[in-house]
Structures are given as C-alpha cells and as structure tokens.
C-alpha cells in the first residue's frame, strides 16, 4: 500500500543518512572538546610532576673534614666568642683541603686546582660547617664526616638539566669539573638523595638555588590561613544567618545581596590594591606580614563562604524551624540550636573550599609585598609569625619563577607539587565531609 513518505521504515533515506552523519559529527565535536579539556589536565599534571619531582631530590657530596684547630680556634681554649670571629671565608681552606684529600685518596687524575675542586660544593657548605663548629666546639681538631650540598650545576648535571654542551659559556662550571663529578659519582662520593630541606627549609639567595626550600613560606601561608579561618568563618556565618534567617525583604537587603554576588567576581588583584591602600598605607600595618595577607584574603574569601553557607542554611527544611518555634523557642534559639547544627557540614565544606582558594591565590599578595623578599628565617612566635615579613607558598613559587637561574624553575615546579598536595588534601576533605554528612531532605 502507498506510504506517505514513499519507502519502508526499514530503509534509511539519503536524507536520514546525511542527518545521521551530521549527528555523528556533532557528537564527535563534543567528545573532542571533553578530550581536549582532559588532555590539557593530563599535560598540566605530567608537566608539573615531570619537572617538579626533581626538586625533592638533591645532590650531596660526602666529605671527611678535618676541623683544624689552628684555623678555627687559634687560642685553643674553645672560647665561643673567638670561634665566632672566624668568618665563612676562614672555613674555605678547610673545605678545600677536604676535597683535595678525597680526590687524592680516590686517585682521580684531574688538572683542577683545589679552589676549582671545592667549587663543586654549594656556597652554603662553609656556612653549614661554621654552624656545626659553633654548635659543637668540642669537635675542633677532629675529623668529621659531612654531607654538603653540591652546587646547582652539579645537581643539574646529575638530573640531566645541565649537559656538557650547555656549559660552554657557563662561568660556574667547566668540563674538567664535570669529569671530576663523573669520577666522584663512580666512587659514591656524590649521590642524589631525598631532600627534606626542600620541604622544610628556608628560601635562599639568588646564588644558591640548591639550598632554597619551601618551609618558611609554608609557615607564612599557614599563618595567613589561620587569620582567614579566624575571621572569615565567624563573620561569614554571621552574615549568612542574618541574610538567610532574619533579613527583612527590603532595599538594604537587596543591596547587600547584590553586593556579595558582585564581590565574589571582583578580580583578586583589586583586593590587593585595597589591602595596600587600607592596611598598609593607611593603617600602617607592616608590609609583607602574613596578618595583612590574611586580612586581604579574608575579604576575598568572605563572599565564597557566605554564598555556600547560605546554600546550606537554605537546604535545611522550614519544618525544622517550625518545629522549634512550635515548642516555644525564640527565632534565635531555633536558628542556633537547630538550623545551624544541621547546616554545619555544608558550612564546613564551603569554608574548606574557600580556604583552598585563598591558599592558592597569588595576585593580591604581590601588592602587599610578599614577593621579592627572601624568606630565610622561620618565625619564632605567634606574634612574629603574624607580623614579621614572610612569604607565602604561591608567592614563593612566583619568586622562584622570576629568578634568572633555571635551577630555580625546578624548585618552582616542586613548590607547585607541595601546594597542590595541600589543595588536594583540603578538597578531598571537603568531598569526604560532604559525602559523610550530606543529608537529603
């Protein structure tokens, strides 16, 4: 019998085939888009790990150092004041001796002079030695084994960053020195091992990338997060409770609400300008202080916390409030005794996510002076932790990325790994909290 559309359902018309092809193409675009997005994630993560994991390992040179009494303590009475008078320059010959002894002992042939041999060590070595001697004056005159940091080119050579081609115009290292490195590596004098100091240590100046660590800036971040938590959580929760539970519907409430949603989208650098103008220029709080950083990040995080807190308050069904009011509780009691505890997991999750956001934020910190500053001393008390100049993890990473020596780039990537570990931990915690306590009404 005649069909309106001509042919049987079982045969595809040309038009349907064309349309199905278009459909398949369209779907492929979607898959491609997702694939590109995921690919970017993979590229980013592999870049971070392939370039940053090296920072957790460091090249060390093990030497037996003879702590010569005539150099370190001429009077021989172990008087600390006298010992302190010997500067790091005074330690240089001792280190040179130790290297020369080692090289001779191993029978390595090298055209290098003692000074160039000692050049394999970090400029930090003399300071390390001096600190040890001052701490243990009794060891003077004895021979002690030390593990010194190798200088960054040697470290780079072992990690493949520095090659014999790349050092042609490099003043810091020569081909002969690399020959010596090869010989010392073969003799297990130079080895690459895990470097805890990268995680816990302080930053170091431009010339000593091998000694730079994240520890102090991590403390800076910690103090900032402490400030953010102490201020943003109570203020954010209080503001949310007012807006969600008590605020009358009027123009003022409207303004506040519009304001909060807009503040959430204000570029972070604007908060930095605010911090610079208000906290530093006007209130004369100290530059580079974690307290100021914390205040700026608090203002920046507040909208996020308020928005998520309001969402969790909203999710508590009105019947709970009605029940509390029904047994004669005041509105305030209903909120604080019933609604708030029920909303707590949601509030906590939102707060952790807000904190994670604040932890990774860099731009406002640049303006309040947390960059360009070598965070070399760990704070010794809560007050100094809050008020004395410090860096923060992202600021430290930016600082390293800006420095000329490529050895710092590895540390910047390594710093990112540490930062990401914090962020992942915080976000996982938030997810677990949400899964564990989430209630579906």
């Amino acid at each position: 019998m005649p069909r309106k559309h001509g042919n049987s359902l079982l045969e595809l018309t040309d038009r349907t085939k064309r349309r199905n092809a278009a459909e398949a193409r369209f779907k492929a675009y979607g898959i491609a888009a997702i694939a590109v997005g995921l690919l970017m994630l993979v590229v980013l993560v592999t870049t971070i790990f392939s370039k940053g994991l090296g920072a957790f390992q460091q090249t060390f040179i093990t030497l037996q150092v003879e702590l010569l009494e005539e150099k370190l303590d001429k009077n021989g009475n172990r008087d600390l004041d006298d010992i302190k008078k010997v500067t790091t320059f005074g330690y240089a010959p001792i280190i040179r001796n130790a290297v020369e002894t080692k090289v001779t002992e191993l029978g390595v042939e090298t055209p290098l002079k003692g000074k160039d041999m000692a050049g394999l060590l970090s400029k930090d070595a003399a300071a390390t030695l001096r600190e040890f001697v001052i701490a243990n004056p009794d060891e003077i005159g004895k021979t002690v084994e030390f593990r010194f940091l190798a200088q960054s080119r040697v470290d780079g050579y072992l990690k493949g960053r520095v090659s014999r081609d790349s050092i042609e115009n490099d003043k810091n290292i020569s081909a002969e020195q690399l020959d010596l490195v090869d010989a010392l590596v073969a003799a297990d004098v130079i080895e690459k091992t895990f470097n805890l100091d990268f995680i816990l240590g302080a930053d170091a100046s431009d010339a000593r990338p091998e000694a730079a660590g994240m520890g102090v800036s991590m403390l800076g971040s910690l103090f900032m997060m402490f400030v953010v938590l102490a201020l943003a959580l109570p203020i954010g929760v209080a503001a949310s409770i007012y807006l969600e539970e008590f605020a009358p519907q009027n123009w003022l409430t409207d303004i506040i609400e519009v304001n909060i949603s807009n503040l959430a989208a204000v570029p972070s650098i604007v908060f930095g300008i605010l911090g610079l103008a208000v906290f530093i220029n006007y209130m004369h709080l100290p530059t580079s202080a974690p307290l100021v950083g914390g205040l700026v990040l608090t203002l920046m995080t507040l909208p996020t916390i308020i928005i998520s807190t309001r969402a969790s308050l909203k999710a508590v069904p009105p019947s709970i409030r009605d029940a509390a009011l029904g047994v004669g509780a005041s509105k305030m009691q209903a909120v604080f005794h019933h609604v708030l505890p029920l909303a707590a997991p949601g509030i906590l999750t939102g707060t952790i996510i807000g904190l994670a956001q604040a932890l990774g934020e860099t731009a406002p910190l640049l303006l309040i002076g947390m960059v360009g500053f070598i965070a070399s001393n760990a704070p010794d008390s809560i007050a100094s932790g809050l008020l004395s100049p410090n860096s923060a993890m992202p600021a430290q990473i930016y600082e390293w990325a800006k420095r000329a020596d490529p050895a710092f780039y590895e540390r910047a990537w390594g710093g990112i790994i540490i930062l990401l570990v914090f962020l992942i931990t915080m976000n996982t915690l938030a997810v677990i909290l949400r899964r564990r306590f989430e209630r579906r009404w």
Binding site: R19, A22, E23, F26, K27, Y29, G30, A33, I34, V36, G37, M40, L41, L44, T47, I235, G236, A238, A239, I241, Y242, F246, I256, V258, N259, I260, S261, N262, L263, A265, V266, P267, I269, V270, F271, G272, I273, L274, A277, Y282, M283, H284, L302, P303, S330, M332, G360, E361, T362, A363, L367, G369, A383, I397, Y398, A401, I416, L419, L420, L423
Partner: protein, 492 residues
C-alpha cells in the same frame, strides 16, 4: 603588643562576666532557675557581651582613627620649606615613622633610656649611627626637624596608646558593671541578648558593603591624586604607555586595554567552543558514568591556582610556541616570528585552558535548565539530538550562555598571574598574536611592587588602572548576572 594584651584582658573579663552574671541571676532567684525570666546562661551572656562588644568596638575605632590624628598633628610640624626638591610630605613622614620606630627599638633593646630617646638631639649626636647599631638602617642623616617630629610622634603615640587602654578598660568595666547591676531574676535577659546578637549579625552582613566602599574609596582617593599630577586626557586618550623617572611619563590606558582585550579574546576563543561543546556533550549525550568522572575531572582545571597556569605559560607553553614560531632555521616551522616566550598567544591559550571548566559548568547549568519538555517536543517530531541541541536547546539557552561568556570575559580581564608571567611587559598596539604585550593587571602589579613612591604619578596610575578594571569587570558582572537571572526566571 599592648593591643594584643588588651584584647586578652577583655576576653578574660568577658568570661568572668559570664560566670558572675549567671551566678548573680541564680542567687536572685534563690537558686531556683525556674523563677528566672530566661535561662541562667542568658544572664551570663548578657554580662559577657556588654563587657566585650562595646569595648572591642571602641578599640577598633580608636586603632583606625589614632594614626590619622597623629599624622595630621606631626606633619603640621614639618615646615613646608624643609621638604627638599623631589621629595614630598609623604616621604618625610615615612622617614619620621622610621626614626620613631628606631627609637622605640633602641629603648626596647636597652640601647637608650626613655629619657635619652626623648631628649636626643641630632645637633649633638649621630642618630643615624646609633640607630644603625641596633639594626635600623636609615638612608640619610636625620635632620633636626625630622627627629623632633619623630619624638613628637612617639610621645603622641604613647599618650594615645595609654589613653586608648584606659578608655577601653573603662568602657569594658562600665559595660560589665551596668549589665551586672541589671542582672535580676525579672530581667528579660534573653530578649536583650538576642537583640545584641542580631545587631552583631547585621554588622557582619554589612561588612560586604564596607568592603565595596573600601575598594571604591581607596581607589577613588588615590586616583584623584593621580589626576591632579597627570592629565586625564593623556590617561584615557593618550595612546602611549612609557613611564620614566624624569617626570614626563606617558601613561595612557589604551595600549594596556588593547593588550587586555586581545588576550581575553584569544582566551575566549579557546574556552568558549571547547567549554560549550563539553557542556553540550555532558548534558545531552554522556551517560551517567561518563558524566560522573568527566565533569569533576574537568572541574579540577578550575581549582588549580592561577600561579600554576602562570608557570605553565612561562616555562612550558611559551617555549613550546617559540619552538614552532621562532628560532629561525632551528625551529619546527623554520620561521622567525616570535622572539621570546611571552606573547599574547601564550597568555591567551593558557587563560583559555583555565576558563574551559568555568564556561562548561556555567553552560551545563544553563543547558540543564532548559525544560526536558522542549527536547521531547523536538525529538518527538523526529529531530536528531544534534538538531534538537542546535535548533531548540541552544536558542532557548542563548541568553544564559551569553551571560556565562560575559562572566568568563570578566574573569579573563581581571586575571593577573597568567598575564604577569605569560604576556610580557611591552605596551603597544599590535595585531600580531606572537608579540609580547602587556595588560592592565600586569601594569598594576609592576607599578605597585618594588620601590614605590606614593607621590609620583607612575605609582598612582596603578590606582586609576585598578579603578578602571573594577568598573569594567563590575559592569560585565552586573550585566551577566542580570541576564542569567532573567533567563532563570523564564523557566522557574
């Protein structure tokens, strides 16, 4: 830290107030809490809050106002004519503060007695040297008027701090005494406490407005200073950005705006198609399992701090682009179009990657808000899914998606770290995406970091740039939120 101890003392007083207040209430009811108007703890809270809150408020206000008054008093001591060429009252005042801090430190370390610090005369003694000994380095010898100003500054600060401590203590004790006196079994403690808490809640909520006012005022104030030193026509219409230290800088926003917009456009060209198609696939095609792993994975991209993207641009994407478009014969394409790693393309592409999840999750929400009935209508007529998406879902979601793109644009314009590290520092009008260019946010950072002199137009211009940026992004946000809200209402 006298303030710190003061706060601790206030807290201690308030805790004590809680227990004393509760006790007194119970005693007034003969130990029977049923006779009380409110629960016993409310009486405690009443005393605690009355002791703490007004005193803390006074302390906060005092801390804000005191520096202002002292600055005014001290700066009036410095005669106009002693401010040397090229310097300003602001710079002299920062010297004054530094000397004053040095003297404080000297006293604290025992290098000087209070008496000596008060009577020190630069005519008779080497102040710079003496301060240098305790680690306060001064740039130049201390002039007599600066030293005297510093001494006055110290005296005023000290007096101020003492007055503050006394006043705050008085207010705290007054609040304590008053509320403690009122504590009686018939006192409506709960109502009073709840009123107080409500006031605190309102205060917290208005902090958002205060922040906005703070942002606008701080930038307006410095922007006004900038325009008094530099012509506004040059800023808005000049065409050249070339700060220098001779005092005839060209500071026009236009080349910066061009760089900003160019980079943002490239970022959106990357993010919008990828984000949008990803959102379409996730909401229209993907199975539940695909969605449940692809969506959170994509959103990880949004959670990565911008410093990571900045480093990625500077150290990975930039050099990769140079290998393609630069290095002449040695490059992959054998061309010499790109000299350095920083370029509009570098920053734009990386920023685009960052914005992918932003666009995709906003669009996902918006596409999901299109009623299923509309899809059914189209599918029921024999449309394929892609026809349904392109001809029914997209037109319906268009306003919302426009809003999402505007929000993404606002993010791109305000983004700082990626452009600071990936875009470069050269302000110019160029169409070549491989050129290094600079943006508004980059210039804000560079003008406000390092040694800054808040009396020179080269520093103050950052506030004018910041204000422009704020207005620009605020405008985009307000527009976008308005559009999205309108869109949502349509389907609610």
């Amino acid at each position: 830290m006298p303030t710190f101890w003061l706060v601790l003392a206030l807290i201690a007083l308030s805790v004590a107030g809680f227990f004393l207040g509760r006790n007194r209430a119970l005693v007034s009811a003969g130990g029977n809490s049923k006779d009380l108007h409110s629960l016993p703890s409310y009486y405690g809270h009443n005393v605690a809050l009355s002791a703490l809150v007004p005193a803390l408020a006074l302390l906060a206000i005092w801390l804000l106002v005191q520096p202002m008054i002292i600055d005014q008093r001290v700066s009036s001591m410095i005669p106009e004519e002693t401010i040397s060429e090229g310097s300003t009252i602001g710079l002299v005042m920062s010297d004054v503060r530094r000397v004053a801090e040095g003297l404080d430190l000297a006293v604290a370390e025992g290098a000087m007695t209070q008496e000596q610090a008060r009577n020190l005369r630069s005519e008779f003694s080497d102040v710079r040297g003496r301060l240098g000994e305790i680690g306060v380095a001064l740039g130049a010898d201390v002039r007599p008027e600066v030293l005297r100003a510093a001494q006055t500054y110290r005296t005023l600060s000290n007096t101020g701090n003492i007055a503050m401590t006394v006043m705050v203590a008085l207010v705290a004790l007054g609040g304590f005494g008053w509320s403690y006196g009122r504590t009686h079994k018939d006192f409506r403690a709960r109502n009073v406490v709840e009123q107080g808490i409500l006031a605190l809640l309102i205060l917290a909520a208005s902090l958002a407005i205060l922040t906005t006012i703070g942002i606008v005022l701080s930038m307006l104030f410095e922007t006004r200073n900038f325009f008094s030193l530099h012509s506004w026509t040059d800023f808005f219409f000049g065409g050249t950005w070339a700060p220098n230290f001779r005092g005839d800088s060209d500071l026009s926003i236009l080349p910066l705006l061009w760089g900003t917009l160019y980079i943002s456009v490239i970022a959106l060209l990357v993010a919008v198609p990828i984000g949008l198609f990803a959102a379409i696939y996730l909401s229209e095609y993907a199975s539940k399992t695909t969605r449940s792993f692809a969506k959170p994975l994509l959103e990880i991209l949004a959670g990565i701090p911008t410093i990571v993207y900045g480093l990625f641009a500077l150290l990975t994407v930039g050099p990769a682009l140079v290998r393609f478009f630069g290095q002449g014969e040695n490059g992959i394409l054998g061309v010499e179009w790109m000299s350095g790693a920083t370029s509009v393309l570098t920053a734009g592409v990386v920023m685009g990657i960052m914005l992918i999840p932003f666009v995709s999750s906003l669009s996902d929400d918006i596409i999901n808000a299109v009623p299923q009935a509309m899809r059914d209508g189209s599918l029921g007529l024999g449309a394929t899914r892609s026809e349904t998406v392109r001809q029914v879902v997209m037109p319906a979601a268009l306003p919302g998606i426009v809003g999402a793109v505007l929000l993404a644009a606002s993010r791109a314009i305000g983004e700082t770290m990626i452009v600071v590290m990936g875009a470069g520092a050269i302000a110019k009008f160029s169409l070549n995406p491989l050129d290094s260019m600079t943006t508004i946010t980059t210039r804000i950072v560079s003008q406000l970091t390092g040694d800054t002199d808040f009396a020179s137009p080269e520093t103050l211009v950052a506030f004018a740039l910041g204000l422009t940026l704020f207005v620009l992004t605020l405008g985009l946000n307000v527009l976008a939120l308005y559009i999205v809200r309108k869109y949502r209402e349509q389907y609610d």
